[in-house]
C-alpha cells in the first residue's frame, strides 16, 4: 500500500471530547478497528468455514461474537458475518478477506459505514432506557442488531461492564446524544 500522511477524522467531528463521562458511565468513539462483511455464496458454507478455520478467522454462531488473535467476528445473518481487524494492520480489510476467501464468499468494506462507540460502566440502567435488549440474558460474548434511537445498531457485549455499539455513521451525533441522554437519565 502507498504511504500517506492522512489521518481519519472521527465520525463525531474533531471538536468533540474523546470521552464523555456521565456519573459512572464513560462513552467514547473508537477508531482503531477495520470492518468487512463476509457472506458465503450459495451452497459454499462448508468451504467458507474450512477456509476461515485455516486462516484463524472466527465465524461465530447466531447471536455470538468471538475474538481470535488479531481477528474478531460477529454473526450478522444466516451465512453472513462481520469480521474485525486492527485498522493499523488491515486498513484494506476487504481486499485481505477477498484474497483469503476468493470466489467462495462475497466481501464488502464496512469500516466507513459505522461509528464505533465504547460504553463502559454499569450498563443495565442505561440500556434498559435505550433498547429492548435484556442484558441479563445478553451475556458477555453476545452480539445482535436492534433499534436504538430509531437506528439499526449492532450491540456487542464485550464484558459485564463494557458494550461496543456500531451505529450508522451518518447518524453518529444522534446516537451519541441518545447515549448521553440515557446515561444522564439513569445516573
Amino acid at each position: 500500500m502507498c504511504e500517506h500522511r492522512l489521518r481519519a477524522r472521527p465520525a463525531l467531528g474533531i471538536d468533540q471530547p474523546d470521552v464523555v463521562a456521565v456519573g459512572p458511565v464513560r462513552i467514547a468513539e473508537s477508531m482503531g478497528t477495520a470492518l468487512g462483511s463476509l457472506a458465503s455464496r450459495r451452497g459454499r458454507d462448508d468451504e467458507v468455514r474450512r477456509i476461515a478455520a485455516d486462516a484463524g478467522i472466527p465465524l461465530p454462531a447466531p447471536g455470538q461474537m468471538v475474538r481470535q488473535g488479531d481477528w474478531a467476528g460477529f454473526w450478522l445473518a444466516p451465512s453472513q458475518w462481520m469480521i474485525e481487524g486492527p485498522q493499523d494492520t488491515y486498513e484494506d480489510i476487504a481486499a485481505v478477506l477477498k484474497t483469503i476467501f476468493g470466489e467462495s464468499a462475497s466481501v464488502t468494506e464496512q469500516t466507513d459505514a459505522w461509528v464505533r462507540l465504547e460504553v463502559t460502566g454499569p450498563l443495565r440502567p442505561m440500556f434498559e432506557r435505550l433498547c429492548n435488549l435484556d442484558l441479563v440474558r445478553f451475556v458477555p460474548g453476545s452480539a445482535t442488531r436492534t433499534i436504538i434511537e430509531h437506528l439499526g445498531c449492532y450491540v456487542l457485549r464485550q464484558a459485564d461492564d463494557r458494550i461496543t455499539l456500531l451505529g450508522p455513521r451518518s447518524s453518529a451525533a444522534s446516537l451519541h446524544h441518545a447515549l448521553i441522554s440515557a446515561a444522564r437519565s439513569a445516573f
Binding site: 450459495r42 447466531p62 447471536g63 445473518a77 429492548n132 445482535t144 436492534t146 433499534i147 439499526g152
Partner: protein, 93 residues
C-alpha cells in the same frame, strides 16, 4: 408482542415489518396463467383466527419469517424461516 425468531429466539415485534398472507410465497407464472395471477394479486382471505403471514426482521438479521398467528387473540403459534418454507415447496431459494 414478541415473535419467536427461529434462529434468534424471542424478539420484540418492533424490530419487524409486516408484509401479509404467506400465500404470497406461491407466485404463479403470470404469463402462463393470467387468471391465477389475478387471484394471487387481488384476492386474499381475511380470516378471524389462525393466519399464516410473512414478517421481515428488518431491524435484526433481515430474515423473512412465516409466522402463524391468531388474528383474534394475537397469540403466536409458531414461526419458521420463509426460506425453509419455500425450499420445502421445491423452490431453489
Amino acid at each position: 408482542m414478541l415473535i419467536p425468531h427461529p434462529i434468534l429466539g424471542l424478539r420484540d415485534a418492533q424490530e419487524f415489518t409486516y408484509l401479509g398472507d404467506a400465500a404470497l410465497i406461491d407466485r404463479p407464472d403470470g404469463l402462463a396463467n393470467p387468471e391465477a395471477f389475478h387471484d394471487y394479486l387481488y384476492l386474499r382471505d381475511n380470516p378471524a383466527g389462525i393466519h399464516r403471514e410473512l414478517w421481515f426482521h428488518e431491524q435484526g438479521d433481515r430474515s423473512w419469517i412465516v409466522v402463524t398467528r391468531n388474528t383474534v387473540t394475537h397469540e403466536i403459534l409458531g414461526a419458521v424461516l420463509a426460506q425453509d418454507v419455500a425450499r420445502a415447496r421445491g423452490r431453489s431459494r
